[in-house]
Symmetry: D2
Subunit: 285 residues, 4 copies
Amino acid sequence: MNTTAKLLLHCPDKPGILADVTNFITINKGNIVYLDQYVDHIENIFFMRIEWELNDFFIPKDKIEDYFETLYAQKYEMMFRLYFSDIKPKMAIFVSKLSHCLFDMLARYTAGEWDVEIPLIISNHPDLQHVAERFGIPFYLFPITKENKMEQEQAEMDLLKKHNIDFIVLARYMQVISEKMIESYPNKIINIHHSFLPAFVGAKPYHAAFERGVKIIGATSHYVTTELDAGPIIEQDVVRITHKDAIEDLVSKGKDLEKIVLSRAVNKHIERKVLAYKNKTVIFS
Amino acid sequence: MNTTAKLLLHCPDKPGILADVTNFITINKGNIVYLDQYVDHIENIFFMRIEWELNDFFIPKDKIEDYFETLYAQKYEMMFRLYFSDIKPKMAIFVSKLSHCLFDMLARYTAGEWDVEIPLIISNHPDLQHVAERFGIPFYLFPITKENKMEQEQAEMDLLKKHNIDFIVLARYMQVISEKMIESYPNKIINIHHSFLPAFVGAKPYHAAFERGVKIIGATSHYVTTELDAGPIIEQDVVRITHKDAIEDLVSKGKDLEKIVLSRAVNKHIERKVLAYKNKTVIFS
Amino acid sequence: MNTTAKLLLHCPDKPGILADVTNFITINKGNIVYLDQYVDHIENIFFMRIEWELNDFFIPKDKIEDYFETLYAQKYEMMFRLYFSDIKPKMAIFVSKLSHCLFDMLARYTAGEWDVEIPLIISNHPDLQHVAERFGIPFYLFPITKENKMEQEQAEMDLLKKHNIDFIVLARYMQVISEKMIESYPNKIINIHHSFLPAFVGAKPYHAAFERGVKIIGATSHYVTTELDAGPIIEQDVVRITHKDAIEDLVSKGKDLEKIVLSRAVNKHIERKVLAYKNKTVIFS
Amino acid sequence: MNTTAKLLLHCPDKPGILADVTNFITINKGNIVYLDQYVDHIENIFFMRIEWELNDFFIPKDKIEDYFETLYAQKYEMMFRLYFSDIKPKMAIFVSKLSHCLFDMLARYTAGEWDVEIPLIISNHPDLQHVAERFGIPFYLFPITKENKMEQEQAEMDLLKKHNIDFIVLARYMQVISEKMIESYPNKIINIHHSFLPAFVGAKPYHAAFERGVKIIGATSHYVTTELDAGPIIEQDVVRITHKDAIEDLVSKGKDLEKIVLSRAVNKHIERKVLAYKNKTVIFS
């Protein structure tokens, strides 16, 4: 596999953007291996993800961002991000007591499914330390009380910084994260909520679903924003239930949903295929 | 096909109910062709639907209800309803301007899929009169304003009574029904709401879904209660959308959901397979 | 709505195609309102659908094809098709005895959901004439026997030609079409098969599914080729069943699938979003 | 939790079975906590699963089978099986090189989701030994060649017997099992096949699905019989794909299906909710 550059961008839609960007790459001998674009005709925004091989590319890797900024980003008022396939993102996992999402992610990681590094797991409870140990990943315990929350989060953030963590996955982490921490990782904290949002925001969604008598339950993975369970949705899925399902059946069926939905969202994020915009996401193909 | 009796019941769960009821039918030479039962172990309620052929049944059709009441219903504090397969329920359809649910139901009706009679269609707009005419069903127009709502609904109810209507289907009827009318048809008014309830209650759910950036949209069929979009859910289904779907795409995809979900719910109701209990439904198999 | 041109093309993938084509449109003052492209990296084929408004476009409508052929198609060895939004495709429906797909399509047609004309319905049985009449569409009866098949199909083809039919929809048409007719409409005959192909090819798929004890049944819409039920698949969907479902339940659940799957496929075809290639389809977004 | 007895049975349908069986339990002071029954009206077979608490039950645990045999099974020509909730079934897992199903099952096992014992894992390749070790489960390697197949399988069966294994799960075990071994475990070997059976029987189903251009792929869990991929289906599920998905995308999406479908089937088997009959399964609710 050759090293590739992955460029995600959005800007006001104008004639010529697509031609300009693809020309830029082609003329400089970049072999385009992926292109997906989309125009929001209501907001008039052009979105694009393009990926090309760097082996024959004229522009040195460390200058691409600069060149692109000068030549195109300013012209088109673009917001863009550039990633390289040979730099693995670093991901931290936060957990509490439930193991299903954690096991699912570590199994994928161990099997080499994800192009990511997981330097550490953080928890507010000791229960899942054994899972971390099975997979040989450092486990840090930060018990949280009302009194120590601020300083514990600060300690967590120091640890994350020390390990150059790029993004955080809340794998059924049962603790609301403070605004300060959320704002330090904008669109970089992925949560799994065990309902079909926006139905059943907040605590105990399976109980609420059972009470309401719904015939389908869901799970939602989203970026965390300062408003609870209201951030940009990355992925959702559902499963059918019946009147015969008790709350514990909902919990059990829901677990399978949660881990699959969360892992799909994390995978899309790792592949740099998610672009958050105005509290929604563009998910590239 | 022999005529069958269909008995739906619920009562506090006690040992012996199932044996007693099946014995009652078997001893009296009724051939059981269907049995589905369910125990809610939290509320301790026994639910049952049982159907048997009447051709050799000892008890005359018009005395079954009386016998069952005396012999079992009092003993077990049962609520029960008895239906006969040779008596078609009478269904009224209420519509406004959108034709997809109406067409879908009339197509099934005309093809003989449903064991029901549809004596009339009621609307607050003239737009769909042509649909009623294509299928030869009387169409009654009751334009509704704030001023005339009470008397128009009274006129509707008079008409429904005159035709011995058993239940009403709101096929995207865009008018809130008053409490008085709802209470005259308890668990007998079936609505289709174009969202995955309880998400997006009220008007314009597709707009709200678009705004929230969900990845899946749904439709919900439920019995109408006096609280808006909060009655017992009969059936739900969903379809996947992406960021590329504009509101009109949601509307278009949603229409297919709505008509299928509504028709499934109506079909279950016609087959006497829905038992509403405490704002939820038991859907027999 | 402005008139648009819709261009579908495929060719060997080379650098510059996308830039060239979008430049061609932009430079000539065409406003691109849709673009979807895809590269098959195994076969090295570039696929594209692009749509632009013609109101300010420099090149006259009737010369676009010629210009594009000369300037780009030859250069890139493209296969392409050009359509205009103000020319409605003409669709013929073939039916036999089952009405559900026919009703569903005519309801959409009547409601103005589809940008198509339906000049006629052809059948080998008289059963559905009443449906055609309800919607005011000419119904032609061509009873088919082993003896008259060749001449009846010739008569059908003459009729189709006379009405300038662009494509044919087999809406549960229970008669195998001969090679000659299939070859006259390459990738222009859309069939609905009542199974999840390639499972249960041929007659009585619901019976076969029941026998096999599957837990999910499906429906498949595909272009008809000379090999039975083996043409390029446009759309599929499934529904869950249980051991409690008898064959008639499969038939009943399947009908809902069939009509939705067929209508989705027809809709994609009408919108010119299907490109058949090597017995598979590219479905543009 | 009280100890319960779980009785699964089937017999020719006759009046009185249900009453007799429920009476038997009720009269002897067994508290019924679960009952699901189903009549196949075509084959005229009655199927039932009933579960009751044993704490006040008059008949000693070790005599129930004998009593039931004498009193009812002979009378109604029943086939029945009796299980007790305090006896955990013993399950062996067979794997080869792919870890996703194995990880998924061991995560559930470790989290206490399943009421089962897993005394050992058997493999024909050493690749997944590390997984077994992470979860502390003995791993036995039986490399298989044409020459040694018979004796290796015999050694496997000796090992299974020694550990009193009740049933076997083939978790993407890439080796056809011989008739002798299959017949030793009738309806006790659960396989996961990575297609929507009966489509794509045999090797490389994702390649075949890709070639055929399907729009949905599936996974099927079934009991192993001597005919390849043709045993009674326990569970199936599907996921949507598009023309953009390469074979490796099918493999990747399929893995998530496989592990969920297999685990659902295993769970149903552990809960004694599967009754295989005539190459089909009754799945109790």
